[in-house]
Symmetry: D2
Subunit: 320 residues, 4 copies
């Protein structure tokens, strides 16, 4: 049963790479990975360098950084502060890389559905400055980057593909860069509300959680798109996977179960679940019980990190 890349359904490049690579010691061809620690946060940079890498991972060529802070769910202020610092540090050069000045932040997702509300909640906390230029004292104005922000809503409530709204606005106001913030779907239960992914490839049609048919990318909107995301749901099949692994572990000594479950490779097990379980459970999502508080915490982290990265010359107390 050879592994089919089609089965890799996650919004996170770091997970796609873990799955494709499996237990194998060799790296996926066309993929470069570097890991480091930043004040208690694990930073994994995945660079997809070739079309083959892109095909294998199901992610376009580009740069993906994952910041893992497993203790974030315990709501420790030190962890929150470390994750904010690390996210701001990753964002700063990506923002600086955009030649121009004006940045449009787009908060994707649905205000009214908690696990999908990350984008709008970040936009709500962001320092928006584009309309203030005329009112700011000259010395503040010179230090202030024009930032605009929208939360365009979701297809189900607008009847319009999100990318069409974003493209329309971009064509009118011509920002130099779009930063898109979104809730993601992950495979791994451990990453739920503990990881941040930053990428220069934009937002791509997801794993089916979002009912989004088109991505928000440089190609589709016409200017570079940096995407910032946090996994807030895993698909039901993801936790079934995890459960089978737990059961296989537990039942190692019970001969027959072990034989069948252990007898399959991890990708085989994954494909089995994907084929049998997903069609029946595709419309379910798994999310932490305390998702409301965690989304708020993450919105604080991302808004602060974005404000710092976007306004390096303003003092923190000028926006807080």
């Amino acid at each position: 049963m050879p592994f089919s890349p089609i089965a890799v359904r996650t919004d996170m490049a770091v997970e796609a790479r873990e799955i494709v690579r499996g237990a194998d010691a060799r790296e996926v061809p066309g993929v470069r990975v570097r890991e480091r620690a930043a004040g208690g946060v694990k930073v994994t940079e995945v660079t997809v360098t070739t079309d083959e890498g892109a095909r294998l991972l199901g992610k376009p060529v580009g740069y993906y950084v994952t910041l893992d802070a497993p203790a974030f769910r315990e709501r420790d202020p030190d962890v929150r502060s470390a994750l904010t610092d690390a996210t701001a540090d990753v964002l700063a050069p990506l923002v600086a890389r955009a030649k121009g000045e004006h940045v449009l932040v787009v908060g994707l997702g649905n205000w009214n559905a908690t696990p999908d509300a990350l984008g709008p909640r970040v936009v709500d906390r962001l320092l928006v400055t584009r309309h203030l230029a005329a009112f700011l004292p000259e010395d503040v104005r010179r230090r202030t980057r024009p930032v605009s922000a929208v939360a365009p809503g979701v297809l189900g409530t607008t009847g319009i593909e999100t990318v069409d709204i974003v493209r329309g606005i971009v064509r009118e106001i011509r920002p130099d860069l779009v930063v898109a913030v979104d809730a993601l779907a992950a495979r791994s239960v451990e990453r739920l509300m503990t990881s941040v992914q930053v990428t220069d490839t934009g937002i791509h049609p997801g794993s089916g959680v979002k009912n989004r048919r088109q991505g928000v990318t440089a190609d589709s909107v016409g200017v570079p798109v940096v995407a910032v995301g946090v996994p807030s749901v895993v698909l039901a099949s993801g936790i079934v996977q995890k459960a089978l692994d737990l059961l296989a572990d537990e039942l190692r000594d019970e001969l027959m179960f072990a034989e069948i479950v252990e007898g399959m490779t991890a990708p085989e097990r994954r494909q089995l679940v994907e084929e049998v379980v997903s069609p029946k459970m595709g419309a379910l999502m798994v999310t932490p019980k305390e998702v409301d508080e965690l989304i708020d915490d993450m919105a604080d982290v991302l808004a602060e990190a974005l404000n710092r990265a976007l306004q390096p010359d303003l003092d923190r107390k000028e926006w807080a």
Copy 2:
């Protein structure tokens, strides 16, 4: 002290006409007015037919209908139902007049500021269908008009002029008609949350309550714009006006006050207040204490009237 049209600051054509006409028995030149009753609702149609009329009223050439239901604030279900019927009846021909099919409803205003939340709350209750075509049974699909809807936010939170967002979206999705819903500023305390204005001229830069510099009109967005509005605030100067009138009445017998206040014509009194009071109180707005419930009631009325006018071939229970 000749009356200067500049002092007419109201979003309602019917009020502009009342002010300009004054106690005079003659109609304002270039303006045609018809009044009728519709089930307890007073319907006033104001048609501005010439540029002179437009200049005098400070409102563009076009058609303005005001539906007055003074008892609406008492939250009587019969009044609500009569106002819904009357609004749907006024909207239906304006929607039908647009040649094509697809209608984009735009909810202007700010979700988080109650007196300005009418537009977003209407959008929230609207039957949005544009994205459903592929999923509807053929017989339902044929009876269903494609409707999309957005609540683009306000300049203060997006950093973008509302009209730029709307124009961008219109250029992408090419609706045949835009219906813009907005909270209005009125002069008359009696009209607060009791009147609906429908017009085929779109939304024009307001009386200063909105900080909006550009209108949402056929000229600015490229397709016809029908606007639906409800006065939710009056400017502070409006109630001072009203108060002076009340005091003049009360003090008719106290010689000196009567002499001075009665000695001025109504426009003179208005201009005096405008010049002395407005500069100091321009940033204040007056709104009914129970504005939250009333905005919700009105959002119900407008959403129902819009659903009926936009989907004449669907049964009410298909969207309720």
Copy 3:
């Protein structure tokens, strides 16, 4: 491996009975069940008549009605209307049974976490009348039951056990009956946002989704408590269960898996998952992707059904 009742973790009596009874043709001792159809809605009345029944099901002696409308998730207006009718019919005699007049409706749960927001959203749509007596015309007043309503918040945001808040309010305002509305946890993925449970036993400490240590019952608050609930989440272990069943079905011909999985009885499989999976996944919940719209639909259904049951002598248009 004898089945331990401790493993039955669901807020729904109908599910507890299904699990305990298993494939067995005999009814659980001390439990009486009647099924009927009501306009497309399946109505299952479970009456726990003895302490043994209560112990076996893990539910107190009392009356539990489940209304199943599997098509509710497709958002069909006819289904919604049938479910509203059926719920109102079940509620009416339970409300009438309370001797007095005044009913306090309590919306349990958390406004800000969508899957838990059912209770507060119902309260928001309810006709509240207790404070209006003095203002109503005599003929309306005589036909109007005094209804009050609170959404007390959750332990995590108040620092207070919900039952303490409810008991305190009950002691002050002395209602004759409390109706508690809450989101429930179920085992069965199929019942998610498609079923309503009504019971005369109140709310009991849940399956762990709620972090609630004490129930809201006649014993704890001092007046009878009717509870109305809708399952909006299943525990992660619930879907693993379901997945194992699906896999066992699929793999019936693959000898070894069949042997092990088929070789276990359903309760054994359940207990296995409970012991191995739950400790690691207890803090996760599974919910439909479109939970926001479904919670709103259900809040409409329950508010309308409650208004009808509580105000049998008012005309629908007097509250809508």
Copy 4:
């Protein structure tokens, strides 16, 4: 026309004292006033020491501190920070004065009506700890005061007098002190969203903006009540007053108006407006256009000041 104290309708003691005292150089009998500056904030302490003072001011015997920060409406971060410091400093001794430990914070007002949403928004930002004792590390627990918090809603949506809900909860959980946070009605347009009043007398039935018939005081709830409020509305009559003053100033040279308006004393003018204007405009409120942002800013200030005053032994980053 002798001045009747009944006409003093403001929630702010400092305004009542200004009105009663008039232009007079002598202090109101039974009232003691001290003024000082605290980092750009003007602090006025009004102590009502006798029943005569209470009768004259229409405010019970007790201690009232007003913090005026006129520049707050310009949203300057330095002003915000100075106001936070000053409020925390005023609150600290009032909290310490309560013998026990446990403090219940009550956020009065209506979530959904922006000018009345201050209380609930403060509660939403507060560090709530009462339920955490068992989970905190011993060293943190010892430094942490048990704090609980509720936002009980308003009569119009609950059908229950707010004081009954608060009293019921107090009787159940027996806090040592209640801190009630509320939006206030002021007379002075200048104080709108720029002042904070702190008092040890609790909340008293207001100026009619609130439809509240009973206060939240030590007498009515059974434990001491510290109240913290911010004026977010002025009554319509308040701005008419102000307008007449502006007109009188402006028209000083126009003989007749001057004679009549100047001829009246300020209290006479006030009473005239009260009698003529208020009955017709009592249901209107005046509020700044940008009230949503200002309420959010003030909620930040009060929540931070309360957290500091309630948790003097916790580090700021432990709650932020």
